[in-house]
């Protein structure tokens, strides 16, 4: 089998590349510069080391890394059968990437859009091969999550759906079928939870800790919505809820002003050391 192209070496791209390599696939991981790619390989090594501690199998980092090559620019993906794209949820960026991929890849390459919110049919429309464009919403951390959302666009062919389902099965993933609709199942639900949780804090109804405690202790979720927002990144959550709001123009998705203020203040969550919680001391505090 040809290597699989993975575009974007951020959190999701790293998870997808690791998952593919762990399941015996060769991978070409692409991003815009060597520095990002080097840090992606470091992250993959760390994730592999942590696998058993997080309930996964024993994973040899050296074996996984041996299956992953890296490249700057999509030209390296000319001959791959599948590309899994994982760039940020920014429409202009997606447009640019898919336009380049369309020129770089052979005609029967399947383009898999890893997105949590962007309509697949719209991505298909950029490409000269809308029948080979399909959405897969991978969950984080990718190697640990047993299921994904599988989203054909209006023009996606049955063959593309089956080829993608086969690749996902080979990655150990069960595909949940969802029609093309902004936010699919997962983000329509999760972002309303996170946004409304932010409103509870914004309105002074409850503290972030109290909101998360209800989710953990009363609903039995492993994490509350605000610690989840900190983990995902407050800016990413805001971008996604904004995409959903702009798409449906329904006020139930209006972004909480607190999210906007936090992003303006640089309180972008765990990665910034401060979000709904403070992470600067190494430990978390409200």
């Amino acid at each position: 089998m040809n290597p699989i192209g993975v575009v974007g070496a951020g959190v999701m791209g790293v998870g997808v590349a690791q998952n593919l390599a762990q399941t015996g696939h060769d991978v070409i991981l692409v991003d815009v510069n060597e520095q990002i790619l080097a840090s992606a390989l470091t992250r993959i090594t760390l994730n592999c080391r942590m696998s058993r501690l997080t309930g996964g199998p024993a994973v040899d980092p050296a074996e996984v890394l041996a299956r992953i090559s890296t490249a700057v620019g999509v030209e390296a993906l000319a001959e791959v059968d599948y590309v899994i794209e994982n760039v940020p949820e920014d429409w202009e960026l997606k447009r640019e990437v898919f336009s380049s991929l369309d020129k770089a890849c052979k005609l029967d390459t399947v383009f898999i859009v890893n997105t949590s919110a962007i309509p697949i049919t719209r991505v298909g429309a950029i490409s000269s091969r809308p029948e080979r464009v399909i959405g897969v919403h991978f969950m984080n951390p990718v190697p640990m999550k047993p299921a994904v959302e599988l989203i054909p666009g209006v023009h996606t062919s049955a063959e593309t759906v089956e080829r993608t389902r086969a690749l996902l099965a080979a990655m150990g993933k069960h595909a949940v079928d969802v029609k093309d609709s902004c936010g699919f199942i997962s983000n329509r639900l999760s972002h309303v939870f996170m946004n409304e949780a932010a409103f509870l804090v914004y309105e002074g109804v409850a503290s972030a800790e109290a909101v998360d405690e209800v989710f953990r202790s009363c609903f039995g979720h492993p994490m509350g919505p605000l610690e989840t927002a900190d983990l995902i990144g407050v800016d990413t959550v805001l971008d996604s809820i904004e995409v959903i709001y702009q798409h449906y123009r329904d006020s139930k998705y209006r972004p909480c002003p607190l999210l906007m203020q936090m992003v303006d203040a640089g309180q972008r969550g765990r990665k910034a050391g401060r979000g709904f919680y403070d992470y600067t001391g190494g430990n978390r505090a409200a």
């Binding site: 760390l46 309930g55 983990l231 190494g282 978390r284 505090a285």
Partner: protein, 86 residues
Amino acid sequence: MSVFEQDQILAFIRDRYPQAEIEATDDIFGLGYVNSLFAMELVMFVEKTFGVAIPNDELRIENFQTAAVMAELVQRLAPSPAGAGI
């Protein structure tokens, strides 16, 4: 077992879950306190605080189930009485 390491590890865990009454021999994995992120934070905390490098084959749940066994792991990896880098 070192009370010194154990207390610091326990303080780190309790700080994260201030509302839970976690003891040194409580199984934090079995009690559901450890998600993938907290597991990584635990490993990084232990490595940084005590100046040890945990080999890949020691990174398994049995070595991180309780503050007490984590302290034993630190002792095995760095038998000096005081941790480094504190």
